[in-house]
C-alpha cells in the first residue's frame, strides 16, 4: 500500500511538473475487449480522446484463450485504470473474476465497465452487484415506446450529478445517443453510489419472453452509474457500448469526456492537506503544549485542495462541516472559507472560528467528515482528551458574591467566640458563685 502511495505521489509530481498526464493518480490504462463482440476500430474516436487525455493505453484482446491478464505483479498494481468492454466466455470469467476486480479497485485502480444486453459478462455483473449496481440480465434490454427513433436518446436533464457533469445553459438541449440495445440497472440505496444518468419516465426493460417481469420501470432504472469506494477509487458502469462508438461519438463527446475525467480521477478529486486545532488566540497554543480543559476556547482549521486536471488548486465550498463528537456530536459547525492557506497556497483554509468546548470532560473526536456524492471523501479525525478543571482552577470563594454571606458568618462566629472567651475570662469569679447559690434555693 505504502509503495503504491509513493508511486502515486511520484506520478502526481511528474504530472504537475510536465503538465502532461491529467489524472490525479496515474495514466497506465488497460483496455480489455473481445473481437468476437465488437471490433475495436469502431471506437477509434474514443481511443483518440484517451490519447488526448494523455493516457498510456494498453489493449488486450481476450478471444484467444491463452491470453493472460495480470493486474498485479506480486502486490504491485500494474495499471491505474481499467476499461472493460463486454467480453464473452468462461476464460474471461477466470481471468477477470469479480474478486480480482474488487481487489484492483480496493488497491486504487479505477474501473470503467461497459455491458450490453447481448453478452452476459458475469464477472462484471458480479462485481457491480457487490457495489450495489444491478444491471439488467442478458435477456432484458431497455425500451421507450414514446421515442420515435430506434436509438435510445437521453437528454441532459436526466443527468443527476453535478460533480460528474455540470449542466450549463449552453448544453441545455443536448441529447445523448445510446444506440439500440441498452441495459438499465437497479441501484440500491448505498450512499457511495453516484447515480449519473437516469432512464426516462416512459422507459422500461423487457425481454424476449413476454411473461418475464420487467427489471426496471421508468425512472427507477439507470443507464450510467458511478461508485466511489471509501478509499476514493472510482468505478463507472455504462449500459451501452454503442454510446462510445464512432457513429455517435460527436453527439456524445461531451458526456464521454466528463465520464472519463470523473472515473479516471481527473476532476472532482479533493483532499485535505492540513488539519489542525489549537487554543484560540493569536499565539495559537497547540494541544501538545497545553492540553484542553472543559470550556476552553479552541479553533479548528482544515485546508482543502482540488485537482483541476493540471495542478492542485484551492477547493472552495460553503458546506464543509466540522464535528466535535463523543459518540454523539456535541458541535456541528459549518466552517467558513478563509482564502488560501498560509503554508500551502494551493489549498483553501477553512476555519470554525473560536468555539467553546463543552462543559464535559472525556475523549472527544475532532472530525471533518466531508462526503459529497461525486467528490472524493474527506474523513479527518483526531481524538483528544478534554480534562476537567483542576482543583485550583475554580474561582476562589471570595470572588463569588454568593459566598460572601457564608464568609461573613464564619468571621462572625470566630470573632464572637474570641469575644466570649475574653468576656468569660475577665468576668469576676463571684458572679458564677452567685449562680450556684441561686440553684440551691431553686
Amino acid at each position: 500500500m505504502l509503495g503504491l502511495r509513493y508511486i502515486q505521489l511520484f506520478l502526481v509530481l511528474v504530472c504537475s511538473i510536465l503538465a502532461a498526464a491529467k489524472s490525479a493518480v496515474g495514466s497506465r490504462t488497460l483496455v480489455v475487449f473481445d473481437d468476437r463482440v465488437d471490433d475495436l476500430s469502431t471506437y477509434s474516436d474514443f481511443f483518440n480522446l484517451l490519447k488526448d487525455h494523455e493516457f498510456d493505453v494498453t489493449t488486450l484482446e481476450l478471444s484467444d484463450k491463452s491470453t493472460k491478464i495480470n493486474l498485479f505483479e506480486r502486490d504491485t498494481r500494474l495499471y491505474d485504470h481499467l476499461i472493460l468492454f463486454p467480453v464473452k466466455g468462461k476464460h474471461y470469467s477466470k481471468q477477470l473474476a469479480a474478486k480480482k476486480l474488487i481487489r484492483f479497485n480496493e488497491n486504487g485502480g479505477n474501473i470503467l465497465a461497459l455491458t450490453v444486453p447481448q453478452v452476459s459478462s458475469d464477472p462484471i455483473h458480479l462485481y457491480l452487484n457487490q457495489l450495489g449496481i444491478y444491471p439488467s440480465p442478458r435477456t432484458q434490454s431497455l425500451h421507450d415506446l414514446f421515442q420515435d427513433s430506434t436509438d435510445l436518446l437521453f437528454s441532459v436533464d436526466q443527468l443527476e450529478n453535478e460533480n460528474v457533469y455540470s449542466k450549463t445553459n449552453e448544453k441545455k438541449d443536448e441529447l445523448f445517443n445510446f444506440g439500440e440495445s441498452v441495459s438499465a440497472a437497479l441501484l440500491d440505496n448505498r450512499e457511495q453510489i453516484v447515480p449519473i444518468l437516469q432512464a426516462s419516465k416512459t422507459s422500461f426493460t423487457s425481454g424476449n419472453k413476454s411473461r418475464e417481469a420487467s427489471w426496471t420501470d421508468g425512472s427507477q432504472g439507470y443507464v450510467i452509474a458511478g461508485f466511489q469506494n471509501l478509499k476514493n477509487t472510482r468505478s463507472t458502469w455504462i449500459g451501452s457500448v454503442k454510446f462510445l462508438s464512432n457513429n455517435h461519438f460527436k453527439q456524445n463527446q461531451d458526456l464521454i469526456n466528463e465520464l472519463i475525467s470523473w472515473t479516471l480521477q481527473e476532476k472532482s478529486v479533493i483532499k485535505a492537506t492540513e488539519v489542525s486545532h489549537t487554543h484560540s488566540g493569536d499565539d495559537k497554543v497547540s494541544y501538545d503544549e497545553l492540553p484542553y480543559k472543559v470550556t476552553d476556547n479552541v479553533t479548528y482549521t482544515i485546508a482543502l485542495t482540488q485537482w483541476d486536471g493540471q495542478k492542485w488548486v484551492p477547493y472552495v465550498s460553503d458546506d464543509v462541516q466540522f464535528e466535535l463528537r463523543q459518540i454523539d456530536p456535541y458541535y456541528r459547525i459549518t466552517m467558513t472559507a478563509q482564502g488560501p492557506a498560509p503554508q500551502d497556497p494551493a489549498s483553501e483554509l477553512y476555519s470554525t472560528g473560536s468555539f467553546m468546548l463543552p462543559n464535559r470532560h472525556g475523549m472527544f473526536t475532532f472530525i471533518t467528515d466531508y462526503k459529497r456524492s461525486g467528490l472524493s471523501y474527506i474523513h479527518e479525525a483526531d481524538i483528544k482528551a478534554i480534562r476537567h478543571l483542576a482543583n485550583d482552577e475554580y474561582p476562589r470563594s471570595f470572588e463569588i458574591p454568593n459566598a460572601w454571606v457564608y464568609l461573613a458568618s464564619i468571621a462572625t462566629v470566630i470573632i464572637s467566640f474570641i469575644a466570649f472567651v475574653l468576656f468569660f475570662i475577665s468576668t469576676p469569679a463571684s458572679l458564677s458563685e452567685g449562680v450556684s447559690t441561686e440553684k440551691k434555693t431553686n
Binding site: S93, H125, L126, G132, N189, R190, H361, G362, M363, R387
Partner: protein, 742 residues
C-alpha cells in the same frame, strides 16, 4: 512459627510478678520483662511478615489480582508526576470515551504512603523500585497492625492479652487474605488505621483526652484517605456513644472525646476530593451527625438537670425529646425527599437484604466479594478463635466498662455484616483476634498460675494442691496445643489458599511438580507489543485494571464500576449477534475484544461463566434487546453444547469463545472442561466481523480484532459470503430485493 506461641506464653509468668517490682529484684524483673517484650515483638513482626511472603517465594514478586493493578498504576503515576498532577489526574486511557477523573475518584492514602516511602528511601540513598515497595507494602503494614492491636488490647485488659492479640492478628488468615505480599490493596493499610483509630478512640474516651481524640481523628482522616470502608468507623463510634448514653453512662469525658473526634475528623475527611461533601449529605454519615447533635442536647440536659429540680426537669425532658424526635425525623424525610441528602447507596441496602442486590443491582451482586459468606469460611479464616469469640464477648459483659461496650458493639455489628458480605470478614477478623486474646489471657491468668506449688504457706492439703496443679497443667497444655494447631492451620491456609497471585495460575505437571500457567501475562504482553498505543480494548470489566496496568492500553470499562450503563454496553456487545455488536463496538472506536476462555484448561472463572451477569446487566438497560430467558434452553438450563439456545449460539461471546475449539480435538468433538459439555463444529458459527489475532498458550485469553469497515460499504457478512463463493459463479438473473432508493 510455634516458637512465637511459646514466647507469647512465657511472659505471663514474668508479668504476674509485676506487682512486686519496686525492690532491686523488681527492677531486674522489669528489665527482663521489657527485653522479653521487645523480643516477642520482633518475633511477631518476623512471623507476620514472613508468612505473607509465601506468594513471593512460590511465585514471584508480582502485583496480584485486579484492584492492586490499578493502585500500582496510580502509584507509578504519582511517583512520576507531582502530587498536584496526581490530585488532578484525568485518565483518558480508561472508560473510553468518558475518561475517568481518577484523581478525584480514588482514595489516595495508599499511593501517597508508598510514594512517601519511596521518596524517603531515595533520600537516605536507597533507590528501591516502586514495584518492590508496592509488593512488600502489605506485609510491612501488617507489622504495624500487630502493634496497634497490641495497644488497643492493652486498653481492654492488659499487656498479656495485648501480646496475644498482636500474635493472633499477625498470622490470622482472615487478615492475611488481603495483605499478602503483592496484594497491594487499600485494605492493606486500612486495617492498620482501623486499629489505630479505635485504639486512640478508646484512650481518648477513657481519659476524656482531647489529645488522644485528636489523634483518633487524624487516624480517621488517614483511614478516609485510604479506604471506602471508613464508613464503618463513621458509624461504629457514634453507635458506641449512643449505646453509652442509653446505658446512662454519659460523662463529660464522652462529650469531649466524641466532639473532638467528630469535628476534626469530619472536617479533615472532607478534604479528600472523593469524599467531598458526603459527610453532610450522604445518609451513611447521618448517624455520626445525629449523635453529635444528640450529645449536645444530652449535655444541655445534664447542665439543666444540675440547675433545676427533678420534677421540672422531667417535664422539660419529655417535651424536648418529643419535639426533637419530630423535627429530626421530619427534617430527614424532607431533606431526602428534596434530594439534598443522598439516598442510601445500593451497597448499603444489600447489607440488610441479601437479595436486594441480586434483584436490583446486578453489578454489585456480580462481584464475588459481595456474596454472603459460607460457614466454613469463618473457621478457615480464624480457626479456634471463632469459638473463643463468643466466650470473650460474654467475658466483656462481665466487666462492661465503656471500652468493653465498644468491643461488644463492634463484634455484634461486624458479625452480622460479615455474614452478609464476604469482604467484611476482613473487619471482623481484628475483633475476633482481640476478643480471642482477651478470653485466652483471662484463662491463662488462672490456669497458667502455678504459684501455689512454690508458695511456702500451703493453705490446703498436699493432695488438693496437686489436683490444682494437675488441672491447671491440663487446661494450659490443651490450650497451648490449640495455639500450636492454630499456627499450623494459619500457615497451611496462608500458603495454600491466600498466596496465589491469580495473575499466574498454579498447576501440576503429570509428575506432580509445580507448573505455572502464565496465559494472562502472555496475552497482555502480546497486546503491549503488537497493538497500536492508542488501541481500544473491549473486555469484561474484571480485566480492565489488568489491561491498563500490564498491557498499557485504553479500556472501555474497568473494575472501578462507576458507570453501570457503560458496563452494560460491553455486556450488550457480548450478548448480541455479531452485526449488532460490531456496530456498537465500532461506535466506541474499539479495535480489539479480549475474552477469557477456560474451556481448554478447565478454568472455572471464565467469561462464559460470567456471561449471565453480562446479560443481566445489559438487560437492565436494554430489556427489549437482551433477554436473559433467551439464553436458556427450554428446560431452563444454561447450556453451551448442541442443545444451546439459538440466541446463545448467535451471541458474540459464544462465537468468540468456541471459535476453532472443536477443531482442537482430533475427532472434532470439543470437550469443554469447565462445563463438561461437548461442542461440535456444527454448533459454532463463523465469525464474519472479527478476526482472531491471538490465543494464549492454553487458550485462556483470546483476543479478536474488529475487521475494518468494508470499503465498498457492504455488510461484512455479505463480504464473507462473497469471498467464500467460487470464482466461476454466474450472475443471477433474479431481480434483487433492494430497498427503495432515497
Amino acid at each position: 512459627m510455634s516458637e512465637v506461641v511459646e514466647k507469647v506464653v512465657v511472659p505471663d509468668n514474668a508479668v504476674t510478678a509485676n506487682e512486686e517490682s519496686k525492690t532491686e529484684a523488681g527492677k531486674c524483673v522489669s528489665w527482663v520483662q521489657s527485653s522479653l517484650k521487645t523480643l516477642i515483638f520482633i518475633a511477631i513482626i518476623v512471623a507476620s511478615i514472613s508468612s505473607r511472603l509465601f506468594a513471593v517465594i512460590r511465585f514471584e514478586s508480582i502485583i496480584h489480582e485486579f484492584d492492586p493493578w490499578f493502585n500500582y498504576r496510580a502509584t507509578q503515576y504519582l511517583v512520576n508526576n507531582s502530587f498536584k498532577d496526581f490530585l488532578n489526574w484525568f485518565d483518558e486511557r480508561t472508560w473510553y470515551p468518558l475518561g475517568r477523573v481518577t484523581g478525584g475518584t480514588l482514595y489516595p492514602g495508599l499511593m501517597t504512603t508508598s510514594a512517601f516511602i519511596w521518596h524517603a528511601l531515595r533520600k537516605i540513598g536507597l533507590p528501591v523500585d516502586i514495584r518492590n515497595i508496592c509488593v512488600l507494602f502489605a506485609p510491612a503494614f501488617s507489622a504495624v497492625t500487630a502493634y496497634a492491636t497490641y495497644k488497643l488490647t492493652c486498653e481492654l485488659k492488659d499487656q498479656k492479652a495485648g501480646l496475644l492479640a498482636a500474635a493472633f492478628i499477625g498470622i490470622v488468615p482472615g487478615y492475611i487474605s488481603r495483605s499478602v505480599a503483592g496484594s497491594y490493596d487499600n485494605e492493606a493499610i486500612a486495617i492498620t488505621l482501623l486499629m489505630a483509630t479505635f485504639m486512640f478512640w478508646i484512650k481518648g474516651l477513657k481519659q476524656g483526652s482531647i489529645l488522644n481524640s485528636s489523634f483518633a481523628a487524624l487516624c480517621y482522616f488517614y483511614m478516609v484517605s485510604a479506604w471506602g470502608g471508613y464508613v464503618f468507623i463513621t458509624n461504629l463510634i457514634p453507635f458506641h456513644v449512643f449505646c453509652l448514653i442509653l446505658m446512662g453512662r454519659y460523662t463529660a469525658k464522652i462529650y469531649v472525646a466524641y466532639n473532638t473526634w467528630f469535628v476534626i475528623g469530619t472536617i479533615a475527611s472532607m478534604q479528600i476530593p472523593f469524599v467531598g461533601f458526603l459527610p453532610i449529605k450522604s445518609n451513611d454519615h447521618m448517624a455520626a451527625l445525629g449523635v453529635f447533635g444528640l450529645l449536645q442536647i444530652v449535655a444541655l440536659g445534664d447542665f439543666i438537670k444540675a440547675k433545676i429540680s427533678e420534677k421540672k426537669f422531667k417535664v422539660i425532658m419529655w417535651v424536648s425529646v418529643i419535639l426533637i424526635m419530630a423535627i429530626g425525623v421530619a427534617g430527614l424525610f424532607a431533606l431526602t425527599y428534596l434530594g439534598l441528602i443522598a439516598p442510601w447507596t445500593g451497597r448499603f441496602y444489600s447489607l440488610w437484604d441479601t437479595n436486594y442486590a441480586r434483584i436490583h443491582i446486578p453489578i454489585i451482586a456480580s462481584v464475588s466479594e459481595h456474596q454472603p459468606i459460607t460457614w466454613p469460611a469463618f473457621f478457615l479464616d480464624t480457626h479456634f478463635l471463632i469459638w473463643l469469640f463468643p466466650a470473650a464477648v460474654f467475658l466483656m459483659f462481665m466487666d462492661l466498662k465503656d471500652e468493653h461496650v465498644f468491643i461488644i458493639v463492634y463484634s455484634v455489628l461486624c458479625s452480622y455484616f460479615a455474614g452478609v458480605m464476604v469482604r467484611l470478614m476482613l473487619t471482623l477478623t481484628p475483633v475476633i483476634c482481640i476478643s480471642g486474646a482477651v478470653a485466652l489471657s483471662k484463662l491463662f491468668d488462672i490456669y497458667l498460675d502455678f504459684s501455689p506449688i512454690f508458695s511456702t504457706k500451703s493453705t490446703g492439703t498436699k493432695k488438693s494442691s496437686f489436683m490444682t496443679v494437675l488441672t491447671r497443667g491440663l487446661v494450659s497444655a490443651s490450650f497451648v496445643y490449640y495455639l500450636y494447631l492454630f499456627v499450623h492451620h494459619c500457615t497451611w491456609v496462608t500458603q495454600s489458599a491466600y498466596s496465589s497471585p491469580s495473575v499466574v495460575l498454579p498447576s501440576q505437571n503429570r509428575d506432580g511438580s509445580m507448573a505455572i500457567i502464565d496465559d494472562y501475562r502472555e496475552a497482555y504482553y502480546w497486546l503491549r507489543m503488537n497493538t497500536d498505543y492508542d488501541a481500544k480494548i473491549a473486555s469484561w470489566w474484571d480485566y480492565g485494571y489488568q489491561i491498563g496496568g500490564m498491557a498499557d492500553r485504553t479500556t472501555l470499562v474497568d473494575n472501578n464500576t462507576w458507570n453501570n450503563t457503560h458496563i452494560a454496553i460491553v455486556g450488550k456487545a457480548m450478548a448480541s449477534p455479531e452485526d449488532v455488536s460490531y456496530e456498537l463496538l465500532k461506535e466506541h472506536d474499539v479495535d480489539y475484544v479480549l475474552i477469557i476462555f477456560g474451556g481448554v484448561l478447565g478454568f472455572g472463572g471464565d467469561d462464559i461463566n460470567k456471561f449471565l451477569w453480562m446479560i443481566r446487566i445489559a438487560e437492565g438497560i436494554w430489556p427489549e434487546e437482551v433477554k436473559e430467558r433467551d439464553f436458556f434452553v427450554n428446560q431452563g438450563e444454561f447450556r453451551v453444547d448442541s442443545q444451546a439456545s439459538e440466541t446463545m449460539k448467535k451471541s458474540l461471546m459464544y462465537k468468540m469463545s468456541y471459535n476453532g475449539f472443536p477443531e482442537l480435538f482430533p475427532d472434532g468433538q470439543g470437550q469443554d472442561r469447565v462445563r463438561q459439555q461437548t461442542i461440535t463444529a456444527d454448533d459454532v458459527e463463523n465469525l464474519d466481523y472479527f478476526d482472531e489475532v491471538f490465543s494464549s498458550e492454553n487458550w485462556l485469553v483470546r483476543i479478536y480484532k474488529l475487521k475494518d469497515v468494508d470499503v465498498e460499504g457492504r455488510d461484512l457478512s455479505d463480504v464473507a459470503e462473497f469471498e467464500a463463493a467460487k470464482n466461476s459463479k454466474r450472475s443471477s438473473n433474479k431481480r434483487p430485493q433492494i430497498e427503495l432508493r432515497v
